[in-house]
Protein backbone atom coordinates (compact mmCIF):
# COMPACT_ATOMS: atom_id res chain seq x y z
CA UNK A 1 0.00 0.00 0.00
CA UNK A 2 1.46 3.38 -0.96
CA UNK A 3 0.43 6.39 1.12
CA UNK A 4 0.28 10.07 0.26
CA UNK A 5 3.80 10.63 1.62
CA UNK A 6 5.19 7.86 -0.55
CA UNK A 7 5.46 5.62 2.50
CA UNK A 8 4.24 2.09 2.46
CA UNK A 9 3.03 -0.38 5.03
CA UNK A 10 4.45 -3.89 5.04
CA UNK A 11 3.56 -7.01 6.97
CA UNK A 12 5.79 -9.65 8.52
CA UNK A 13 4.51 -12.89 10.01
CA UNK A 14 6.93 -14.56 12.44
CA UNK A 15 4.39 -16.79 14.15
CA UNK A 16 5.88 -19.96 15.68
CA UNK A 17 9.42 -18.64 15.29
CA UNK A 18 11.37 -18.46 18.51
CA UNK A 19 13.73 -15.67 19.49
CA UNK A 20 15.97 -14.41 18.09
CA UNK A 21 14.50 -15.45 14.72
CA UNK A 22 11.62 -12.92 14.85
CA UNK A 23 14.19 -10.17 15.51
CA UNK A 24 16.37 -11.43 12.65
CA UNK A 25 13.37 -11.44 10.30
CA UNK A 26 12.49 -7.87 11.36
CA UNK A 27 16.11 -6.77 10.91
CA UNK A 28 16.33 -8.33 7.45
CA UNK A 29 12.95 -6.99 6.34
CA UNK A 30 13.75 -3.46 7.46
CA UNK A 31 16.94 -3.51 5.38
CA UNK A 32 14.66 -3.62 2.32
CA UNK A 33 12.46 -0.71 3.43
CA UNK A 34 12.73 3.06 3.12
CA UNK A 35 12.68 5.85 5.65
CA UNK A 36 9.16 6.34 6.98
CA UNK A 37 7.86 2.95 5.86
CA UNK A 38 5.76 1.09 8.38
CA UNK A 39 6.21 -2.57 9.29
CA UNK A 40 3.47 -4.55 11.03
CA UNK A 41 4.86 -7.64 12.74
CA UNK A 42 2.99 -10.56 14.27
CA UNK A 43 4.82 -12.93 16.63
CA UNK A 44 3.94 -15.72 19.03
CA UNK A 45 7.11 -15.83 21.15
CA UNK A 46 6.47 -13.73 24.26
CA UNK A 47 10.19 -12.90 24.33
CA UNK A 48 9.55 -10.58 21.40
CA UNK A 49 7.79 -8.19 23.77
CA UNK A 50 11.26 -7.34 25.11
CA UNK A 51 13.45 -8.14 22.16
CA UNK A 52 11.75 -6.24 19.34
CA UNK A 53 11.50 -3.00 21.34
CA UNK A 54 15.17 -3.43 22.38
CA UNK A 55 16.18 -4.00 18.76
CA UNK A 56 14.25 -0.87 17.71
CA UNK A 57 15.91 1.24 20.41
CA UNK A 58 19.40 0.00 19.48
CA UNK A 59 18.86 0.63 15.81
CA UNK A 60 16.90 3.85 16.30
CA UNK A 61 13.74 2.77 14.56
CA UNK A 62 10.45 3.99 15.99
CA UNK A 63 8.24 1.45 17.73
CA UNK A 64 4.83 3.03 17.35
CA UNK A 65 2.79 0.28 18.94
CA UNK A 66 3.08 -3.07 20.70
CA UNK A 67 0.27 -5.18 22.06
CA UNK A 68 -0.70 -8.72 23.05
CA UNK A 69 -3.85 -10.20 21.58
CA UNK A 70 -5.00 -13.85 21.69
CA UNK A 71 -1.53 -15.35 22.21
CA UNK A 72 -0.13 -13.08 19.52
CA UNK A 73 2.29 -10.19 19.97
CA UNK A 74 1.78 -7.37 17.50
CA UNK A 75 4.19 -4.56 16.66
CA UNK A 76 4.09 -1.50 14.43
CA UNK A 77 7.52 -0.14 13.55
CA UNK A 78 8.37 3.00 11.59
CA UNK A 79 11.64 2.77 9.71
CA UNK A 80 14.07 5.58 10.50
CA UNK A 81 17.11 6.04 8.25
Amino acid sequence: MTGIYNMSTHQLDTQRLLCPLPVIRVQDKIKELNNGDLLEVVCTDPGTMNDIPAWCRINEHLLKEKKEQNHQYLFLIEVVR
Binding site: R16, L18, C19, P20, L21, V23, I24, Q27, D45, P46, G47, N50, D51, A54, W55, R57, I58, N59, H71
Partner: protein, 347 residues
Amino acid sequence: MTQKKAVSLISGGLDSLLATKVIQEQGIHVEGINFFTGFCVEGHTHAIRKKDKQKQKRNNALWVAEQLNIKLHIVDIVEEYKSIVMNPKHGYGAHLNPCLDCKIFMVKKAHEWIKENNFDFIITGEVIGQRPKSQRKETMPVISGKSGAGDLLLRPLCAKNLPATRPELENWVDREKLYDFSGRSRKPQMSLAEQFELEDYAQPAGGCCFLTDENYASKLSDLWKFRGNREYELDDIILLKIGRHIRPKPNFKVIVSREEGETRFLEGYKKQFIYLHSISHKGPLTLIDGDEISDEDLLLAAQITARFSQGRTADQVTVEIIDKKQQSKEVTVKPCHPNDILNDWYL
Protein backbone atom coordinates in the same frame (compact mmCIF):
# COMPACT_ATOMS: atom_id res chain seq x y z
CA MET B 1 43.60 9.82 12.47
CA THR B 2 40.13 8.77 11.40
CA GLN B 3 38.19 6.90 14.03
CA LYS B 4 38.86 3.19 13.80
CA LYS B 5 35.97 0.75 13.77
CA ALA B 6 35.76 -2.69 15.37
CA VAL B 7 33.13 -5.38 15.36
CA SER B 8 32.72 -7.31 18.58
CA LEU B 9 31.43 -10.86 18.83
CA ILE B 10 28.63 -10.45 21.37
CA SER B 11 27.42 -13.63 23.03
CA GLY B 12 25.39 -11.89 25.69
CA GLY B 13 27.72 -12.93 28.51
CA LEU B 14 30.03 -10.86 30.65
CA ASP B 15 33.31 -11.40 28.79
CA SER B 16 32.20 -10.00 25.45
CA LEU B 17 30.50 -7.13 27.24
CA LEU B 18 33.75 -6.23 29.03
CA ALA B 19 35.94 -6.69 25.96
CA THR B 20 33.71 -4.30 24.05
CA LYS B 21 33.65 -1.76 26.85
CA VAL B 22 37.47 -1.83 27.13
CA ILE B 23 37.80 -0.98 23.44
CA GLN B 24 35.04 1.63 23.49
CA GLU B 25 36.93 3.35 26.31
CA GLN B 26 39.81 3.81 23.88
CA GLY B 27 37.66 5.82 21.50
CA ILE B 28 37.03 3.05 18.97
CA HIS B 29 33.62 2.88 17.26
CA VAL B 30 32.31 -0.61 18.06
CA GLU B 31 29.32 -2.47 16.68
CA GLY B 32 28.26 -5.93 17.80
CA ILE B 33 27.68 -9.10 15.84
CA ASN B 34 25.81 -12.11 17.16
CA PHE B 35 25.37 -15.43 15.40
CA PHE B 36 22.22 -17.55 15.62
CA THR B 37 23.13 -21.22 15.21
CA GLY B 38 19.82 -22.76 16.29
CA PHE B 39 21.50 -24.16 19.39
CA CYS B 40 21.67 -20.86 21.25
CA VAL B 41 20.20 -20.92 24.73
CA GLU B 42 17.51 -18.29 24.40
CA GLY B 43 14.90 -19.37 26.92
CA HIS B 44 12.91 -21.21 24.26
CA THR B 45 11.44 -23.58 26.81
CA HIS B 46 10.29 -20.62 28.86
CA ALA B 47 8.91 -18.95 25.75
CA ILE B 48 6.74 -21.97 25.01
CA ARG B 49 5.62 -23.22 28.41
CA LYS B 50 2.54 -21.54 29.79
CA LYS B 51 3.64 -21.84 33.39
CA ASP B 52 6.76 -19.81 32.58
CA LYS B 53 4.88 -17.14 30.69
CA GLN B 54 5.27 -14.54 33.40
CA LYS B 55 9.04 -15.02 33.65
CA GLN B 56 11.01 -12.11 32.30
CA LYS B 57 12.59 -13.10 28.99
CA ARG B 58 15.26 -11.17 27.18
CA ASN B 59 17.83 -11.78 24.52
CA ASN B 60 21.09 -11.24 26.35
CA ALA B 61 23.00 -10.15 23.26
CA LEU B 62 20.44 -7.40 22.58
CA TRP B 63 20.49 -6.45 26.23
CA VAL B 64 24.30 -6.18 26.24
CA ALA B 65 24.24 -4.10 23.06
CA GLU B 66 21.77 -1.74 24.67
CA GLN B 67 23.93 -1.41 27.79
CA LEU B 68 26.93 -0.60 25.61
CA ASN B 69 24.91 1.71 23.35
CA ILE B 70 26.10 -0.10 20.23
CA LYS B 71 24.33 -1.47 17.18
CA LEU B 72 23.94 -5.23 17.07
CA HIS B 73 23.83 -7.26 13.88
CA ILE B 74 22.23 -10.66 14.43
CA VAL B 75 23.16 -13.13 11.73
CA ASP B 76 21.28 -16.35 10.97
CA ILE B 77 23.93 -19.02 10.30
CA VAL B 78 21.72 -22.07 10.88
CA GLU B 79 22.34 -23.59 7.45
CA GLU B 80 26.07 -22.93 7.23
CA TYR B 81 26.57 -24.08 10.81
CA LYS B 82 25.34 -27.60 10.11
CA SER B 83 28.68 -28.69 8.67
CA ILE B 84 30.40 -27.49 11.85
CA VAL B 85 28.11 -29.56 14.06
CA MET B 86 28.11 -32.63 11.86
CA ASN B 87 31.84 -32.78 11.06
CA PRO B 88 33.98 -30.66 13.35
CA LYS B 89 37.60 -30.85 12.18
CA HIS B 90 38.85 -30.31 15.72
CA GLY B 91 36.37 -32.69 17.35
CA TYR B 92 33.83 -32.25 20.12
CA GLY B 93 34.16 -31.11 23.71
CA ALA B 94 32.56 -33.00 26.58
CA HIS B 95 29.30 -33.48 24.65
CA LEU B 96 28.46 -32.48 21.07
CA ASN B 97 29.98 -29.03 21.39
CA PRO B 98 32.37 -28.30 18.52
CA CYS B 99 33.69 -25.24 20.36
CA LEU B 100 36.97 -24.71 18.53
CA ASP B 101 35.47 -25.13 15.05
CA CYS B 102 32.59 -22.92 16.15
CA LYS B 103 34.88 -20.11 17.25
CA ILE B 104 36.95 -20.35 14.05
CA PHE B 105 33.75 -20.22 12.00
CA MET B 106 32.33 -17.22 13.85
CA VAL B 107 35.56 -15.25 13.63
CA LYS B 108 35.73 -16.13 9.93
CA LYS B 109 32.20 -14.77 9.46
CA ALA B 110 33.12 -11.65 11.42
CA HIS B 111 36.20 -11.22 9.24
CA GLU B 112 34.04 -11.39 6.11
CA TRP B 113 31.70 -8.87 7.74
CA ILE B 114 34.43 -6.30 8.48
CA LYS B 115 35.65 -6.52 4.88
CA GLU B 116 32.13 -5.96 3.55
CA ASN B 117 31.42 -3.11 5.95
CA ASN B 118 34.80 -1.33 5.98
CA PHE B 119 35.58 -2.01 9.62
CA ASP B 120 39.15 -2.30 10.82
CA PHE B 121 39.36 -5.18 13.27
CA ILE B 122 37.54 -7.80 15.32
CA ILE B 123 37.31 -8.19 19.08
CA THR B 124 36.22 -11.14 21.19
CA GLY B 125 35.85 -11.73 24.90
CA GLU B 126 38.12 -14.77 24.86
CA VAL B 127 40.32 -15.39 27.88
CA ILE B 128 43.19 -17.89 27.85
CA GLY B 129 42.28 -20.89 29.96
CA GLN B 130 38.64 -19.89 30.40
CA ARG B 131 37.23 -22.81 28.41
CA PRO B 132 38.89 -26.21 28.19
CA LYS B 133 38.19 -26.80 24.51
CA SER B 134 38.48 -23.53 22.67
CA GLN B 135 40.03 -20.93 24.95
CA ARG B 136 43.55 -22.22 25.52
CA LYS B 137 46.90 -20.64 24.74
CA GLU B 138 47.46 -23.16 21.93
CA THR B 139 44.07 -22.54 20.33
CA MET B 140 44.30 -18.75 20.15
CA PRO B 141 46.64 -18.71 17.11
CA VAL B 142 44.63 -21.55 15.55
CA ILE B 143 41.49 -19.39 15.67
CA SER B 144 43.29 -16.31 14.32
CA GLY B 145 44.96 -18.30 11.56
CA LYS B 146 42.22 -20.62 10.37
CA SER B 147 39.55 -17.92 10.45
CA GLY B 148 41.65 -15.76 8.14
CA ALA B 149 41.43 -12.86 10.58
CA GLY B 150 45.12 -13.15 11.51
CA ASP B 151 46.39 -10.12 13.40
CA LEU B 152 43.11 -8.28 13.01
CA LEU B 153 41.69 -10.35 15.85
CA LEU B 154 42.16 -8.66 19.21
CA ARG B 155 41.25 -10.21 22.58
CA PRO B 156 41.24 -7.22 24.93
CA LEU B 157 40.84 -9.27 28.12
CA CYS B 158 43.97 -11.38 27.59
CA ALA B 159 45.88 -9.39 24.96
CA LYS B 160 48.92 -8.90 27.18
CA ASN B 161 49.41 -12.66 27.28
CA LEU B 162 49.51 -12.84 23.49
CA PRO B 163 51.66 -11.37 20.72
CA ALA B 164 50.68 -7.83 19.79
CA THR B 165 48.08 -7.57 17.05
CA ARG B 166 47.83 -4.99 14.30
CA PRO B 167 45.49 -2.68 16.24
CA GLU B 168 48.14 -2.58 18.98
CA LEU B 169 51.19 -2.34 16.71
CA GLU B 170 49.65 0.52 14.74
CA ASN B 171 48.51 2.26 17.92
CA TRP B 172 44.83 2.11 17.05
CA VAL B 173 44.53 0.92 20.64
CA ASP B 174 46.88 1.27 23.60
CA ARG B 175 48.15 -2.18 24.56
CA GLU B 176 48.93 -0.91 28.06
CA LYS B 177 45.24 -0.40 28.65
CA LEU B 178 44.39 -3.98 27.72
CA TYR B 179 44.36 -6.91 30.16
CA ASP B 180 46.20 -10.13 31.00
CA PHE B 181 43.40 -12.30 32.35
CA SER B 182 43.90 -16.05 32.30
CA GLY B 183 42.40 -19.15 33.83
CA ARG B 184 38.90 -20.16 34.84
CA SER B 185 38.48 -17.70 37.69
CA ARG B 186 35.79 -15.11 37.11
CA LYS B 187 37.14 -12.73 39.74
CA PRO B 188 39.11 -10.47 37.34
CA GLN B 189 36.04 -10.09 35.13
CA MET B 190 33.81 -9.34 38.10
CA SER B 191 36.28 -6.80 39.38
CA LEU B 192 36.43 -5.09 35.98
CA ALA B 193 32.65 -5.11 35.80
CA GLU B 194 32.59 -3.35 39.12
CA GLN B 195 35.03 -0.73 37.81
CA PHE B 196 32.68 -0.12 34.90
CA GLU B 197 29.77 -0.02 37.38
CA LEU B 198 28.07 -2.94 35.65
CA GLU B 199 25.88 -4.79 38.10
CA ASP B 200 23.38 -6.73 36.02
CA TYR B 201 24.87 -9.18 33.56
CA ALA B 202 24.10 -12.69 32.39
CA GLN B 203 26.01 -15.53 33.98
CA PRO B 204 24.88 -18.55 32.00
CA ALA B 205 25.73 -21.83 33.69
CA GLY B 206 27.40 -24.08 31.15
CA GLY B 207 27.71 -21.51 28.42
CA CYS B 208 25.23 -20.26 25.89
CA CYS B 209 24.91 -23.30 23.64
CA PHE B 210 22.66 -26.34 23.98
CA LEU B 211 25.37 -28.54 22.50
CA THR B 212 27.23 -28.29 25.82
CA ASP B 213 24.18 -29.70 27.62
CA GLU B 214 24.39 -33.43 28.35
CA ASN B 215 20.66 -34.12 28.06
CA TYR B 216 20.29 -32.17 24.85
CA ALA B 217 23.36 -33.82 23.31
CA SER B 218 21.96 -37.21 24.24
CA LYS B 219 18.71 -36.45 22.35
CA LEU B 220 20.63 -35.18 19.33
CA SER B 221 22.82 -38.31 19.33
CA ASP B 222 19.67 -40.43 19.40
CA LEU B 223 18.21 -38.49 16.46
CA TRP B 224 21.33 -39.04 14.40
CA LYS B 225 21.68 -42.69 15.37
CA PHE B 226 18.17 -43.70 14.41
CA ARG B 227 18.01 -41.62 11.24
CA GLY B 228 21.27 -43.16 10.11
CA ASN B 229 22.85 -39.82 9.26
CA ARG B 230 23.70 -36.50 10.85
CA GLU B 231 21.50 -34.27 8.73
CA TYR B 232 19.08 -32.05 10.61
CA GLU B 233 16.69 -29.20 10.05
CA LEU B 234 15.99 -26.27 12.37
CA ASP B 235 12.68 -27.84 13.40
CA ASP B 236 14.51 -30.99 14.53
CA ILE B 237 16.80 -29.14 16.87
CA ILE B 238 14.03 -26.90 18.21
CA LEU B 239 11.82 -29.94 18.92
CA LEU B 240 14.61 -31.50 20.99
CA LYS B 241 14.01 -28.69 23.50
CA ILE B 242 10.32 -29.44 23.87
CA GLY B 243 8.27 -32.16 25.57
CA ARG B 244 9.10 -35.65 26.75
CA HIS B 245 11.03 -37.63 24.15
CA ILE B 246 10.38 -41.36 24.48
CA ARG B 247 11.76 -43.98 22.10
CA PRO B 248 10.00 -47.29 22.70
CA LYS B 249 11.26 -48.89 19.47
CA PRO B 250 14.12 -48.20 17.07
CA ASN B 251 11.82 -47.09 14.24
CA PHE B 252 10.04 -44.31 16.12
CA LYS B 253 9.97 -42.01 19.10
CA VAL B 254 7.13 -39.97 20.52
CA ILE B 255 7.27 -36.36 21.63
CA VAL B 256 4.66 -35.80 24.33
CA SER B 257 3.76 -32.27 25.39
CA ARG B 258 4.06 -31.56 29.10
CA GLU B 259 1.64 -28.68 29.41
CA GLU B 260 -0.69 -26.37 27.51
CA GLY B 261 1.98 -24.08 26.08
CA GLU B 262 3.92 -27.03 24.66
CA THR B 263 0.69 -28.51 23.27
CA ARG B 264 -0.03 -25.27 21.45
CA PHE B 265 3.51 -25.17 20.08
CA LEU B 266 3.45 -28.80 18.91
CA GLU B 267 0.13 -28.17 17.15
CA GLY B 268 2.17 -26.23 14.62
CA TYR B 269 3.74 -29.53 13.52
CA LYS B 270 0.49 -31.39 12.83
CA LYS B 271 1.08 -31.52 9.09
CA GLN B 272 4.60 -32.91 9.42
CA PHE B 273 3.97 -35.76 11.86
CA ILE B 274 1.39 -38.37 12.75
CA TYR B 275 -0.13 -36.98 15.93
CA LEU B 276 -2.35 -38.25 18.72
CA HIS B 277 -4.45 -36.78 21.50
CA SER B 278 -6.86 -38.16 24.03
CA ILE B 279 -10.51 -37.34 23.32
CA SER B 280 -12.11 -39.03 26.33
CA HIS B 281 -9.89 -37.20 28.84
CA LYS B 282 -7.83 -34.03 28.85
CA GLY B 283 -4.28 -34.76 27.90
CA PRO B 284 -1.18 -34.01 25.88
CA LEU B 285 -0.50 -33.78 22.19
CA THR B 286 1.87 -36.48 20.98
CA LEU B 287 3.89 -36.42 17.76
CA ILE B 288 5.30 -39.61 16.27
CA ASP B 289 8.73 -39.14 14.71
CA GLY B 290 9.72 -42.23 12.75
CA ASP B 291 9.29 -44.46 9.74
CA GLU B 292 7.23 -47.49 8.80
CA ILE B 293 4.84 -46.99 11.69
CA SER B 294 2.75 -50.14 12.14
CA ASP B 295 -0.70 -50.44 13.73
CA GLU B 296 1.02 -51.97 16.74
CA ASP B 297 3.29 -48.90 16.99
CA LEU B 298 0.25 -46.63 16.82
CA LEU B 299 -1.41 -48.52 19.65
CA LEU B 300 1.70 -48.23 21.80
CA ALA B 301 1.91 -44.50 21.07
CA ALA B 302 -1.78 -44.21 22.03
CA GLN B 303 -1.14 -46.04 25.32
CA ILE B 304 1.75 -43.68 26.10
CA THR B 305 -0.43 -40.68 25.24
CA ALA B 306 -3.13 -42.05 27.55
CA ARG B 307 -0.57 -42.55 30.31
CA PHE B 308 0.12 -38.81 30.35
CA SER B 309 -3.55 -37.83 30.11
CA GLN B 310 -5.96 -37.25 32.97
CA GLY B 311 -7.23 -40.76 32.27
CA ARG B 312 -3.94 -42.33 33.33
CA THR B 313 -5.68 -44.46 35.99
CA ALA B 314 -8.82 -45.17 33.93
CA ASP B 315 -9.48 -48.61 32.47
CA GLN B 316 -9.85 -47.17 29.00
CA VAL B 317 -8.94 -43.97 27.23
CA THR B 318 -10.03 -43.05 23.72
CA VAL B 319 -7.28 -41.54 21.61
CA GLU B 320 -7.58 -39.93 18.20
CA ILE B 321 -4.77 -40.64 15.73
CA ILE B 322 -4.37 -38.33 12.75
CA ASP B 323 -1.99 -39.24 9.94
CA LYS B 324 -0.05 -36.87 7.71
CA LYS B 325 -2.94 -36.83 5.21
CA GLN B 326 -5.12 -35.59 8.09
CA GLN B 327 -7.12 -38.81 8.10
CA SER B 328 -8.33 -39.62 11.57
CA LYS B 329 -9.16 -42.75 13.48
CA GLU B 330 -10.04 -43.44 17.09
CA VAL B 331 -8.64 -46.20 19.27
CA THR B 332 -9.59 -47.14 22.80
CA VAL B 333 -6.65 -48.31 24.89
CA LYS B 334 -5.63 -49.07 28.42
CA PRO B 335 -3.03 -46.48 29.49
CA CYS B 336 0.52 -47.73 29.94
CA HIS B 337 1.43 -48.47 33.52
CA PRO B 338 4.38 -46.22 34.52
CA ASN B 339 6.57 -49.33 34.77
CA ASP B 340 5.70 -50.22 31.19
CA ILE B 341 7.56 -47.15 29.99
CA LEU B 342 11.11 -48.28 30.57
CA ASN B 343 13.69 -45.83 31.83
CA ASP B 344 15.77 -46.57 28.74
CA TRP B 345 12.97 -45.25 26.57
CA TYR B 346 13.27 -41.73 27.98
CA LEU B 347 15.79 -39.67 26.03
